[in-house]
């Protein structure tokens, strides 16, 4: 690999430092700090003298503000009553469940919040709580016929919203780190370092396909998927369309771009127009090249199939994201004998493109495509950054697997999406 050592070691170093900082914070994020509130054991006036069947109460009842939320939620935890044995069947278990009661500042008496089944040790109360008001909580274990144990009580819990979700710290670190890598490589590319990119089979065929269409004097059909412009694969498709349009402009090959999404149509009209201007044929462009059909999946397919059968394009491009319609398009295209080049990151549809298209650009290659075609240092740089990120991810996965074999899940637990 031709990575300049500093960058790689630097980014790895940063990552490890982050992890060292991160692991304690994350672990604390898992288990919120014990509250300052005091645990008082009282016999509620309401309950009659204990009937014999009443189970022992749970222990260590705590109630705190639920972390990482918009407030208005209280996190209640307790330890099972000594008699509560989750291993037993529901019938045998002397403890039937836990009733949780709440008393707000204005309330005069306790209201039942919920009854949780036996074996459960935590509950998040979000039932019309208000922020920055003191609430009191009580928990009792329930036995046969709802016989209540003595109650545990926690006073003056105050819920408040947080401004940072510590559970998502790992995501933040990933973003910062990856952003840093991308920028550093783009910077290096700007400085004019030669950066190598392997060839991507499908893309070499693009020019060939356009050339063939030109010889046959037939149009080219370009489809940019069924997602709107907010999907990144659609953006990649638009970028590739830019290159294709420039070629068709040079060769003066007719270009057809039917659209599923109106916003994508607007963007593509700009892109294609620009491409024709750069190729020096602004007059050859018309808005009828890039047009909208319908935003109904199979209505769109029906129309595109019609276009294929009537206009007989010599080359079909399917870039972007696809659903079940992929095979219908590709097979109809094959029927008309067109060269077909597909590129998608939709895992479920790749099999069908692979089988019925001449060339298929798989997953990430679609994003690499724009870089590969343009050869702009900016693009290539970001491609390099992705490889570095892959290395780092690989290292972490390997470490995590080895650790997990010996039963240590610390690394795996760094990668929890909340």
């Amino acid at each position: 690999m031709r990575f300049r050592p500093p960058v790689l070691s630097w980014s790895l170093g940063v990552m490890i430092v982050f992890i060292l900082v991160l692991s304690p914070i994350l672990t604390t994020a898992q288990a919120p700090p014990p509250p300052e509130t005091t645990v008082v054991e009282t016999t509620p006036p309401t309950t009659p003298p204990e009937p014999p069947k009443a189970p022992e109460p749970p222990t260590k009842f705590t109630a705190v503000d639920n972390p990482n939320d918009d407030g208005m939620k209280a996190l209640l935890t307790w330890e099972l009553s000594p008699q509560d044995n989750p291993m037993l069947e529901k019938k045998e278990n002397p403890v039937k469940g836990y009733r949780i009661l709440r008393k707000g500042p204005e309330d005069t008496e306790w209201m039942t919040v919920t009854v949780q089944p036996a074996g459960i040790t935590s509950y998040v109360d979000s039932r019309d709580l208000l922020n920055s008001l003191p609430y009191s909580y009580r928990i009792v274990a329930l036995g046969e016929q709802e016989a209540e144990s003595t109650a545990l009580e926690v006073d003056s819990v105050i819920t408040k919203p947080q401004v940072f979700n510590t559970g998502r710290l790992n995501t933040l670190i990933c973003i910062l780190l990856f952003g840093a890598i991308v920028l550093s490589y783009i910077y290096r590319a700007r400085k004019g370092h030669e950066l190598f990119v392997r060839r991507i089979a499908g893309l070499d065929a693009v020019d060939e396909a356009i050339g063939r269409a030109t010889e046959m004097g037939r149009p080219i059909l370009y489809i940019s998927g069924l997602h709107s412009i907010e999907d990144i694969s659609t953006v990649a498709a638009v970028t590739i369309l830019g290159r294709v349009a420039r070629k068709t402009a040079e060769y003066e090959t007719p270009l057809l771009v039917p659209n599923y999404d109106a916003l994508v149509m607007l963007v593509e009209q700009e892109t294609v127009k620009q491409a024709y201007m750069e190729a020096g044929h602004p007059d050859a462009y018309s808005n009828d090249m890039v047009f909208y059909l319908t935003s109904s999946q199979f209505g769109y397919v029906a129309a595109v199939d019609g276009i294929m059968l009537r206009e007989k394009p010599a080359a079909n491009f399917y870039m972007g994201y696809y659903y079940a319609e992929a095979l219908i398009l590709a097979e109809t295209g094959a029927q008309t004998g067109a060269i077909q080049i597909a590129g998608t990151d939709s895992v479920t549809q790749l099999p069908f493109f692979i089988t019925s298209c001449d060339y298929t650009i798989i997953g990430e290659e679609l994003y690499a495509a724009s870089a590969y075609l343009s050869k702009e240092p900016l693009q290539i740089g970001s491609l390099k950054a992705q490889d570095v990120a892959k290395l780092i991810i690989g290292v972490f996965m390997l470490a995590g697997i080895i650790a997990s074999i010996f039963g240590w899940l610390g690394i795996a637990n760094l990668f929890i999406a909340k």
Binding site: K90, T114, V115, P117, G119, I120, Q335, T348
Partner: protein, 307 residues
């Protein structure tokens, strides 16, 4: 010979289309089905679970699918309902898919009509007539997937004060005589149902496991489309689902287990025909392909005119 093979390799796809069409049309028109579908273990698990229930036990059936997946999933609902009705197991039906209500009503009405008279089960035992409110209740559709699943762990009445027709749900342990839905007197929450069966063409089963199973430890059985089946296999291995009914094949399996062949079984014939048709075409195609290629190579050696 070679020309024939070449011709076969370049056969007009419309012949294949014709074969597929006939392969589906003829069995459906004649209404003939396979006799055996060789049930898979994942389906047997579900069947045995229901089979071992006592009459009067209650299961929750959540039909979370829309018209697009009816051909695959409807047969499952029917087979399951038939099994429950035969056994006298009572069913609390609901749907968490916005487009599901109409489908559920259609299926339930049809099954109730079929069981409107006392009859003999396939295994020879007598069974009384099954009726709405007594043996099955349809709660209707409720938005808010996870909230509904969690809520029903406390009390179904919190989310479904009435059934789909607007009939009041009687109180828990209420007097069965005072209501038209006596069955609901015995249902408060998951503790009162033996298992939840979710039939879905979406990611719904994952939610059921995440909320209903992991918090309330209610058993989950699932019916899914053939496409999604693989995604749920791990849940089966780890015992988070007690069973899995995959696609139309699964439905046919179940129909065989309760030996009451229906649409699933009818569908199995065209399915088998076309699967085999495709496989046959692939194999023949490859044989022809290899023969032609070998002869081309030989020609290449001889004359060298082919490149």
């Amino acid at each position: 010979m070679k020309e024939i093979l070449r011709g076969f390799l370049k056969i007009d796809r419309r012949w294949i289309f014709l074969f597929v069409l006939l392969g589906v049309l003829i069995p459906l028109a004649t209404g003939k089905g396979l006799h055996h579908s060789y049930p898979g273990n994942e389906v047997k698990l579900v069947y045995n679970f229901i089979e071992n229930l006592q009459p009067g036990d209650i299961v929750m059936l959540s039909m979370d699918y829309d018209p697009a997946t009816i051909p695959e999933l409807d047969p499952m609902s029917r087979a399951l309902l038939r099994h429950c009705f035969n056994k006298g197991v009572r069913v609390m039906a609901l749907t968490l898919h916005p487009a599901g209500a109409g489908i559920c009503i259609a299926v339930i009405d049809e099954l109730l009509a079929e069981y409107s008279q006392p009859g003999i089960n396939p295994d020879g035992s007598e069974r009384p007539a099954r009726q709405y409110g007594q043996d099955i209740v349809f709660m209707g559709y409720k938005p808010g997937t996870d909230a509904v699943m969690l809520g029903m762990g406390e009390d179904v009445r919190l989310l479904f004060p009435q059934d789909y027709a607007g009939t009041e749900i009687p109180p828990y342990h209420g007097d069965p005589k005072e209501t038209s839905l006596p069955m609901m007197c015995d249902v408060k929450n998951y503790n009162d149902v033996k298992c939840v069966i979710t039939i879905s063409g979406t990611r719904m089963p994952e939610y059921w496991v995440a909320y209903a199973y992991q918090r309330y430890h209610v058993k989950i059985a699932t019916g899914v489309t053939a496409v999604m089946f693989a995604d749920y296999y791990p849940y089966l291995q780890t015992g988070q689902m007690i069973g899995l009914i995959p696609g139309m094949k699964g439905a046919a399996d179940y129909e065989e287990l309760i030996n009451h062949p229906d649409r699933g079984m009818v569908g199995m014939l065209p399915q088998s025909i076309i699967h085999l048709l495709i496989v046959a075409f692939i194999i023949l195609g490859n044989i022809a392909f290899f023969i032609v290629r070998r002869e081309d190579k030989q020609e290449g050696k001889k004359g060298g005119k082919k490149k």
